[in-house]
């Protein structure tokens, strides 16, 4: 039997969820035996080269690119999992959802105390950089998500248990302490 194929990505996240995957520590060496990684920042594969069994999504969507990637993951993955607060609810980046985007840009580029010499009032805007969405969107508002792993980040044990359950097609055994999150 061929190994299950896993893909992962970080959208508008901080990479903490991927770090939590690495926090399974020496089990990462077991994981390499158990599964094959396809498109993931953990290996060097940037485009899907085949259909995957499990896709892990970190981060919500804050620009048009994030949406494109998420849709591509939905197309290529049988099971899609939102990993962490940002994927599930937009997380901390979604704090900006109550504030007009323009105000956020003004604060960073015009009002900051360390942009005293920006006399031309430049705010980045160029064909070479993407447009930012009006709000930060959780993943399930863009595509169908099959499972949600809570936490900021989800604990390594939770990610490991969930992966093993999905790979071996068995129910998850999750003690209360492991699903506790902040």
């Amino acid at each position: 039997m061929s190994k299950p194929v896993i893909a992962t990505t970080s959208l508008a996240g901080c990479f903490g969820c991927h770090m939590s995957i690495l926090d399974i520590d020496e089990k990462i060496l077991d994981l390499i035996e158990l599964v094959e990684f396809n498109k993931s920042p953990i290996d060097d594969i940037k485009h899907f080269t085949k259909q995957c069994d499990i896709g892990l999504i970190e981060g919500g969507c804050c620009n048009s690119e994030n949406i494109h990637v998420l849709r591509e993951f939905r197309e290529h993955c049988k099971i899609l999992v939102s990993v962490g607060e940002c994927a599930i609810m937009g997380g901390l980046p979604a704090f900006r959802n109550n504030i007009p985007l323009k105000e956020c840009l003004r604060e960073a580029y015009l009002l900051s105390p360390s942009v005293q010499a920006n006399h031309e009032y430049i705010i980045p805007n160029d064909e070479d950089i993407p447009m930012i969405l009006d709000k930060v969107y959780p993943c399930h508002e863009i595509v169908k998500i099959d499972y949600f792993l809570p936490g900021c980040p989800p604990r390594a044990e939770l990610i490991w248990e969930a992966l093993v359950a999905l790979i071996k097609n068995r129910p998850m055994d999750l003690p209360y302490e492991v699903i506790k999150y902040d």
């Binding site: 901080c14 903490g16 290996d43 940037k46 620009n63 360390s114 900021c152 980040p153």
Partner: protein, 484 residues
């Protein structure tokens, strides 16, 4: 015809960094740009929040080095709660934070070197990407991979013991820390079963420095000549000139070693540093005001720190530091790939510092928090793994944040990373009309010397999700390369 090349970080697919290269009529590289394509808006959306939330909130900028943001924010808030500036904490407060920070330096540098950079060195820059990754290292060089994994684990366990959690912890609070180390935790770190004890970590750190030095001997051309350009260097140093990653004064030297910022109080950073906004990148370009936008840019991070400091206050790392300095006859080192060498010397220093701290009884008992007269403004700086990190807050009488200014490490390295890309592009793209895999890899390797992932500003772990675009003189796209 002028031409423009773009290397986009798998952009449409995963993009966070993107490189454009313009060629002139003769096919020479006329202009290169590294575009940072992410914007979050932290400075605005933390306004109105209670100040004490900052250490747990702002660290969510980066999950790779959250402790740096956690501590820089806490240091700024120390000032706000009247606990002084870096030296005003109780011995327990200061030492617990230092242990947390050196644990963080250890884990982040280890990740940077073993998980992200070592595949380039082990398999070669032009190796097949399918094996040129940490999984390839695990399959082909299992011992080295196990060392990397266990060293990172040790650092993460130190963070958990001091901050409460491995990622996005809660240990540092305004004016101090919220816990002691337990004797059981201390004993585990000092005398735990191999390999998870501090002596093994020091042994492996020495081995990692040796690994790099022997690689350097065999690959002098790559390490010494891959990307070299004169740069200013900036970092915190201890008042006596020692390397200190937690606290100090701001020092900068130019490419020849002349001091251009002479151990100034970092609370005055606005007197010395300003940021330029350019329309084509969301990341700003900091520079030293007295030298101007053109000449005032500087490098931060491990290489800059070893260029600014006078000595390293732990014996094994000091020995390596002397060898490192001797290589450039005591002058600042401006070779981008030597960043990895400097980083591994800091890994060793962090391990030695952790051992010293773990043996300190102040971690186990003593007052945790200092309070004083409330202030309305606080500035906190720290040397994060990738360089100097600035946090600056103002609050109102209701304890709400009204202003937040963050200059993150990667932002400080914006111009040097742009320069490194330019040097590599000139070397590899002159006269070319197509972007080759080697070119893409070379750009990745150049950026990765500074930041493995552009994590603070972007965030793609490991392999730069780069996309390259090549334009002619009339701005017609003649080739594009999106990494596969």
């Amino acid at each position: 015809m002028n031409q423009k090349i773009i290397i986009e970080p798998v952009t449409r697919v995963e993009g966070h960094g993107k490189v454009t290269i313009h060629l002139d009529e003769e096919g020479n590289v006329a202009r290169t740009r590294l575009h940072i394509v992410e914007f979050r808006g932290f400075e605005r959306f933390v306004q109105g929040r209670p100040y004490w939330e900052m250490p747990v909130l702002v660290q969510r900028l980066c999950g790779i080095c959250p402790v740096s943001h956690h501590l820089a924010a806490a240091k700024a808030l120390d000032v706000i709660v009247g606990a002084g500036t870096g030296e005003g904490l109780t011995p327990t407060g200061e030492k617990m934070r230092r242990l947390m920070h050196y644990g963080q330096i250890f884990q982040s540098h280890t990740l940077h070197f073993f998980h992200l950079a070592s595949p380039d060195l082990l398999f070669g820059i032009d190796a097949d990407p399918a094996i040129r990754n940490i999984i390839g290292v695990a399959l082909k060089h299992k011992d080295l991979a196990v060392q990397g994994v266990m060293m990172r684990k040790f650092g993460q366990e130190i963070i958990k013991a001091t901050a409460g959690k491995k990622i996005h912890g809660t240990g540092a609070i305004p004016g101090g820390i919220n816990k002691h180390l337990t004797p059981e935790e201390r004993d585990m770190f000092l005398h735990g079963p191999d390999p998870l004890n501090i002596d093994k970590m020091i042994e492996w750190s020495v081995a990692a420095v040796d690994f790099f030095k022997s690689y350097h001997k065999k690959n002098k051309d790559l390490i010494d000549n891959f990307s070299v350009f004169p740069s200013n260097h900036l970092s915190l140093v201890r008042k006596d000139g020692a390397l200190d990653l937690y606290h100090g004064v701001l020092r900068a030297v130019d490419a020849n070693g002349k001091k251009i910022l002479n151990d100034v109080d970092y609370h005055d950073y606005l007197k010395y540093i300003d940021e330029e906004v350019r329309s084509w990148s969301y990341m700003k370009f900091p520079y030293l005001k007295h030298l101007g936008k053109e000449n005032g840019w500087y490098t931060v991070g491990p290489l800059a720190r070893l260029n600014t400091c006078d000595f390293i206050p732990t014996p094994l790392a000091q020995k390596e530091f002397e060898e490192f300095k001797a290589y450039t006859n005591g002058k600042p080192n401006n070779m981008s790939m030597h960043m990895h060498w400097a980083r591994l010397i800091e890994v060793l220093h962090a391990a030695e510092m952790m051992k010293e701290l773990l043996n300190d009884p102040d971690l186990l008992e003593g007052e945790l928090v200092v309070k004083g007269k409330k202030q309305y403004e606080g500035i906190g700086l720290i040397e994060a793994p990738r360089g100097t990190l600035f946090h600056h807050y103002r609050i109102n009488e209701n304890d709400q944040v009204v202003m937040a200014n963050l200059i993150v490490s990667t932002t400080n390295n914006n111009q040097p990373m742009n320069n490194a890309v330019n040097v590599v592009a000139k070397k590899m793209m002159t006269g070319q009309r197509e972007i080759t895999e080697a070119m893409k890899n070379a750009v990745e390797v150049a950026i990765r010397a500074y930041d493995p992932c552009l994590s603070c500003a972007t965030h793609a772990l490991g392999k730069m999700p780069l996309a390259l675009y090549l334009y002619d003189k009339d701005d017609n796209l003649i080739d594009e390369f999106i990494s596969q």
